[in-house]
Each structure stands twice: as structure tokens, then as C-alpha cells.
């Protein structure tokens, strides 16, 4: 095996594996720190997420959110952009979905409501990303800072909308009235019942199919269309992209809008699929979680689905863990997200120099043919 192949092997396989492993080991250390046997915890966690039908339903339900935000972060990453505004875009996406439903005639059929709410979420999510994208492309403001600010702006705006505009009449809770049942994304247990299978009720709804569809579309878009090609080329080497006639400003706008739209879809799963009304803070943590999912899934839809499933498992299993063992909560998932972002993202290349030195050393004399 020559040196190039070895390096490719280190970068492509060994390094990501070691990074994820390190994140897992670090999580185990946290468990030990709080006096919980990590293996026992893993058992409880796995039972909670896969041991019974309702648990599985919850697991996939959470996974759906992580797929949306993971894809969102990944699309921006491929264009060389770091969208940390997934939180805000998901939240505002909920406004789009909610408005689409609340302003339509409640007697309309599901075939109007469901597509309308999806489009509402897509458009509002995209709009919330469009402004930072425009400011980066044409005004030179840094997209990371602007998207952070937009997360907070989204929070304020949503509270305002919820308290002053959309609050259910006569209620104190800042949430909208219940969506008409026609506008509910069907639950999987209901659909299965229609086919004659009985499964335990869970929040799992057909949004999961939307998430899978989006994964396929993102994969198709990024790797099998000219626009995806242009996005990836810009992200990898913007000088070469300009040489190839690609316009980076346009790429920033397009990639961010897609990213924001995907993040917006979290609301379809959460609100249209389960809560059936516009509520506060339904989005919390999924936008940031998407960063961990994308980093761990190597920005590829397949990897993202796997990573999202892992975090979905942790999320649901974490709830079980909190229930079964005292002194622990599902926030352990957040810890793990942080560790994944740290080791798969910020410290991505920590092991590389060491690995390259030991597994693929440079042989200067040999390669140059120079005499010592």
C-alpha cells in the first residue's frame, strides 16, 4: 500500500472512527464520574429506546427531528458555510406551518392541509436563513454571528406571535388553538391500524417518511445535479469554482435557503405530527443537535440517518434512564452531543499527525532520490 492510499485510509476511515470512539469513551467517563455504570446505563438506554413498541416509536420520532437538522447543517457545510441558526430556522418554520394551517378553512381536507403546512415550514425556514445569507453574500457580515443573532430574534418574535397574535382566545398559555384534525400528520400507529396491524400509540407520525424523502432528495441534489455540484465545488475550493464559472454569492443564498428550509421541517414533525398546535420552544436543542449529527454523519445523508438514529436513541433512552436511575437525566444526550462536536469537529485532526507519523511516514530520501 503506498503512502497516498494509507493517508486516504487514515483520513477516510480510521480518523472518523477514532473520533467517534473517543466521544463514546469520554461519555463513559462522564457516567463513571456520576457513579453510574456505563454498561448498565447502556442496557437501560437500549431497552428504553428499542425494548418495546412505544419506545421504538419515540426513538424514531426524535430521530426524525435530528435527520432534518442534520441535513440542514450538512447542506450548508457542503457550501463551506456553518449554519448555526438551525434553532431559529426550525422555530420560525413552525410559524410557517402553523400560519398555513390556522389561516386555511378548517373544513378543507388533509390533502390541502398537509402540503400547505409543509410548504409553510419550508418557506419560513428558508426565509429565516435567507437574510443572514444575503448579509453574508452582499454585505460581508459573518454568517455565524448573524445566524446566532437570528436564533435570538426568532425566539423573541415567536414569543411575541404566541402571546399577542396567535394565543388561543381565553387562554393564558402562550400557544395557538388546536389545529383541525384534518391538518394532523397521521400517526404511524393509526396508519398501521388502517392496514390491520395494531401497534402501541406513540408520537411517531408520517413525518419520518418526509425525513427519509428529504435524505434521498439531498443526496440526489448534492451528488446528482449541476446545482449540487456547484455547491460542493464552492465548498471545497471556491477559487476553482469561480474558475469554473460558478458564482459564490448565488451559492451562499441557495445553500442557506435549502438549509433553512430543511431545519424548518422539524416543525412538521413536532407540531403538525404530534403537538397539533403551535407551542413555545418545541425546537429546543434540535438545531444544535444537528451540528453533532452532521459532523458524526460526515455530512452524508446516509451517515446523518445513522447518527440521527443514535441521537434519537439517546434522547428516548435518556428519558428511560432518568426514569429508571436516580441522579441522571436525558441531558446526558446533550453532553454526548457536545463531546461529538468536540471530537468529531473541533478536534477532528487531533490524532492525524500521530497516525500519519506512525502508519504513513514520509520517506524524503526515497521519494526524492536525493543522496544524503
Amino acid at each position: 500500500m503506498n503512502r497516498d492510499t494509507r493517508i486516504a485510509w487514515i483520513n477516510g476511515l480510521l480518523l472518523p472512527f477514532l473520533n467517534v470512539l473517543t466521544a463514546f469513551v469520554a461519555t463513559a467517563v462522564v457516567f463513571l464520574l456520576i457513579d453510574v455504570n456505563p454498561i448498565e446505563a447502556a442496557e437501560v438506554l437500549l431497552y428504553g429506546s428499542f425494548g418495546y413498541e412505544e419506545g421504538i416509536g419515540y426513538t424514531i420520532y426524535y430521530t426524525t427531528n435530528f435527520i432534518f437538522t442534520g441535513l440542514a447543517v450538512a447542506v450548508a457545510f457542503h457550501a463551506g458555510l456553518f449554519n448555526i441558526g438551525g434553532e431559529g430556522q426550525a422555530y420560525v418554520g413552525g410559524l410557517g406551518a402553523g400560519l398555513a394551517i390556522l389561516f386555511l378553512d378548517p373544513t378543507l381536507g388533509a390533502w390541502v392541509f398537509i402540503p400547505a403546512s409543509i410548504i409553510g415550514a419550508l418557506v419560513f425556514g428558508a426565509l429565516w436563513a435567507l437574510i443572514p445569507a444575503y448579509l453574508q453574500a452582499y454585505r460581508g457580515s459573518h454568517i455565524v454571528i448573524t445566524t446566532i443573532m437570528f436564533n435570538f430574534l426568532a425566539a423573541s418574535m415567536m414569543v411575541y406571535m404566541m402571546v399577542h397574535v396567535l394565543r388561543e382566545t381565553g387562554q393564558m398559555t402562550p400557544q395557538s388553538e388546536l389545529f383541525p384534525t384534518n391538518a394532523w400528520m397521521p400517526f404511524v400507529h393509526d396508519v398501521m391500524a388502517g392496514f390491520g396491524y395494531t401497534i402501541e400509540a406513540s408520537p411517531l407520525n408520517l413525518s419520518v417518511l418526509l425525513a427519509l424523502l428529504c435524505s434521498v432528495l439531498v443526496w440526489f441534489f448534492l451528488w446528482h445535479t449541476r446545482w449540487g455540484y456547484a455547491i460542493r465545488a464552492t465548498g471545497k475550493n471556491s477559487t476553482a469554482a469561480v474558475y469554473g464559472g460558478i458564482k459564490p454569492k448565488r451559492i451562499i443564498i441557495v445553500a442557506m435557503c435549502i438549509s433553512g428550509a430543511l431545519a424548518g421541517l422539524v416543525s412538521v414533525n413536532e407540531l403538525v405530527g404530534y403537538q397539533h398546535r403551535l407551542i413555545m420552544d418545541f425546537h429546543l436543542g434540535y438545531g444544535f443537535g444537528g451540528i453533532a449529527v452532521a459532523l458524526m454523519g460526515r455530512n452524508h445523508p446516509l451517515g446523518i440517518i445513522v447518527a440521527a438514529l443514535l441521537f434519537g436513541t439517546l434522547y428516548q433512552g435518556g428519558a428511560e434512564l432518568a426514569f429508571e436511575m436516580s441522579g441522571i437525566s436525558r441531558d446526558i444526550v446533550v453532553v454526548m452531543q457536545g463531546l461529538v462536536i468536540l471530537f468529531c469537529g473541533a478536534l477532528e485532526y487531533m490524532y492525524r499527525p500521530w497516525l500519519v507519523r506512525n502508519l504513513a511516514p514520509v520517506n524524503t530520501q526515497g521519494e526524492l532520490g536525493a543522496t544524503p
Binding site: 456520576i34 456553518f82 448579509l135 457580515s141 443573532m149 441522571i328 437525566s329 441531558d331 446533550v334 469537529g345
Partner: protein, 324 residues
């Protein structure tokens, strides 16, 4: 008339209390960013500091012990940021996000394990907190019109960390503009190559800057849990780290203007609280959310160059690599 005056005073008094952690955190960010390292981990370091301070203060019973540990914890996180971004040249944003998320989870998990109070730390008794200090002659001077109340309500009656914040700002200014370290700090954030060719170590300078930032963030955290409040609660920094970041940008990375930005943002916060449900004659009720959003909106507008220009240190965000 007197009522309005008192209301203004109380609002300003609240402004100072709310601004204090922003000032510490923004000064921390100033050191990091002036050295060329983006620090969106201010939030996480503050939160960790707040947790550490409240935990230790509740166990040991001394706010000073809490403060010490808060500084230690926050500085360790700053060193983690340095290890990732300076030593391993990892992405500064990703590293900051990692720290924020990690801390958000860890504080709850550890809090639960140690105190079994649903992620909170035990409520602190007065001995374990930084309490307000009444300055001398308050009562005697209270009778003087205007100045008396100002002295009593606004200047006196804060805890030691508040006063420290307003001492720290001129100190930061002095360090940044009047000392050798400050000169090198400003240089390394603008043109690390110039620093390198002058025979100085870019890496060491950036680590030093992060250490100072870690210390200041630790104080900010301790203030939040052991001075402004009396225990640690989940996510209690509530985005103040990001507001501090916004203030840093809004103040154009200069100590005194950054402090003014912190005071402005703090004032908006205090006003938002006061205006809750209050109808202003002629205008009607201003939605609180609108006032809350103002700092972020102002920062976005400034960054986009619509009002003046915020030009960050030139080398900020990039790891230093010798050419080739």
C-alpha cells in the same frame, strides 16, 4: 416627579446589575478575539463558572472559594478551546459550539448527581453569597436632593463584583493600550505573521489571551449564581454569553465602547422588565419582546454595515500556519 426620578434610578440600578456579567464576559471575549481567536464559547464558560461557583459555595460556604473554582473551571475550558483551535488548528466556531453544548449538558448531569435537586444546586445562604455593600455616609447624604438618591440607589448597595466590573474595564483598557502584552495582543490578532517575524510566539500569546478570558468568564459566571442569584439553575446564563459577544461587536472590540454597549444592552433588559404590561401614553404598550430583541437586531444591522462598520481584528477566526 419624584416617582419618575425614582423609577429612572431603579431602572439604572437594575441596568448595572444586569450589565455586570455582560461586562466581564465581553472583556473576556475582547482578549480572545483581539488575539485572533473567535470565542463563541463565552456562554458555556460563564455557565460552567456559574455552576462551579454555586456548587462550591454551597459546600464550603464561602463565595470566594466558589469564585476561585469558577475561575479555574472556566479557564480549563478556555484551555480546551486553545488546545483545539491553537494547537490543533480546529475550527474556532465548532470548538465554541462544542463547549457551549457540553457545558449545558454537564452542569445538569453533574448537578443532579451531586445535589439531587433536579439539576439545581442548593439555595445559598447569605454567608455563601456576595452581598450588597452599603457605602459609607449613605444615610447622611440621602437628604441632598438628586445627588443623595443617586448615591444611595445607584452607586451604593451593590456587591463587590459589580464594583470590580467597573474597575476591570479601565484595567483592560490600560493593559490593551499601555502594556507590552497589550501591544502584542493587538498585533497578533491583526497580523500574526508580523508577530512571528518579530521573534514572538503566536501560540503562546494566544494561549495567554485565552487564559485571561477564562478568568474573566469565571468571574461572570460566579456573579450570576452567587451574587445576582442564590443558586444555580438550568441554563441560567440564558444567552448572556451571546449578548456579550454582540456587545463586543457593537463596541467594536474596544474596552470602553464595549462597556457602553454592555450597559446599553443591560439597560434594554432592565427597561423590558419594567415596561412589562405598562402602557406608555401616546405610544401604547411596547411589546417586551421587541425591546429584548433590540441588542441582536442592532448587532445584525451594525455587522451588515448599515450603521457604521464593525471591523473585527483581521486575523480573527483563522489558525496561524507558517506558510507552505
Amino acid at each position: 416627579m419624584n416617582d419618575i426620578f425614582l423609577t429612572v434610578l431603579l431602572t439604572l440600578d437594575a441596568t448595572i446589575r444586569v450589565s455586570t456579567p455582560l461586562i466581564f464576559a465581553a472583556m473576556a471575549g475582547l482578549f480572545a478575539e483581539r488575539s485572533g481567536v473567535v470565542d463563541i464559547g463565552l456562554e458555556g464558560k460563564m455557565l460552567a463558572g456559574a455552576f462551579a461557583a454555586a456548587s462550591v459555595a454551597s459546600i464550603v460556604g464561602s463565595p470566594w472559594a466558589g469564585l476561585g473554582i469558577a475561575i479555574l473551571v472556566s479557564t480549563s475550558l478556555a484551555m480546551l478551546h486553545g488546545f483545539a483551535t491553537i494547537t490543533h488548528r480546529g475550527d474556532q466556531i465548532v470548538s465554541g459550539v462544542a463547549i457551549n453544548i457540553l457545558v449545558a449538558g454537564l452542569t445538569i448531569i453533574l448537578g443532579l448527581a451531586w445535589f439531587h435537586q433536579g439539576g439545581l444546586t442548593p439555595a445559598l445562604s447569605n454567608e455563601s453569597r456576595f452581598l450588597s455593600i452599603t457605602l459609607p455616609f449613605v444615610e447622611q447624604l440621602a437628604l441632598i436632593p438628586v445627588l443623595g438618591p443617586i448615591y444611595k440607589e445607584l452607586i451604593s448597595g451593590h456587591n463587590i463584583l459589580v464594583y470590580l466590573a467597573f474597575v476591570v474595564v479601565p484595567m483592560v483598557w490600560w493593559v490593551v493600550y499601555r502594556t507590552r502584552f497589550g501591544l502584542r495582543l493587538r498585533a497578533v490578532g491583526e497580523n500574526p505573521k508580523a508577530v512571528d517575524t518579530a521573534g514572538l510566539s503566536v501560540i503562546k500569546l494566544r494561549y495567554k489571551a485565552l487564559i485571561v478570558g477564562g478568568v474573566l468568564c469565571g468571574i461572570a459566571g460566579a456573579y450570576i449564581s452567587t451574587a445576582h442569584n442564590a443558586q444555580f439553575t438550568r441554563d441560567m446564563t440564558a444567552g448572556q454569553g451571546y449578548i456579550a459577544l454582540a456587545a463586543l461587536i457593537f463596541g467594536k472590540w474596544r474596552p470602553l465602547t464595549v462597556m457602553l454597549a454592555c450597559l446599553l444592552f443591560g439597560f434594554l433588559d432592565a427597561v423590558a422588565v419594567r415596561l412589562q404590561g405598562v402602557s406608555i401614553p401616546g405610544i401604547g404598550e411596547i411589546p417586551v419582546q421587541f425591546i429584548e430583541a433590540t441588542p441582536y437586531l442592532l448587532t445584525v444591522i451594525l455587522l451588515a454595515g448599515f450603521i457604521g462598520r464593525a471591523i473585527p481584528p483581521k486575523a480573527v477566526g483563522t489558525a496561524y500556519v507558517k506558510e507552505r
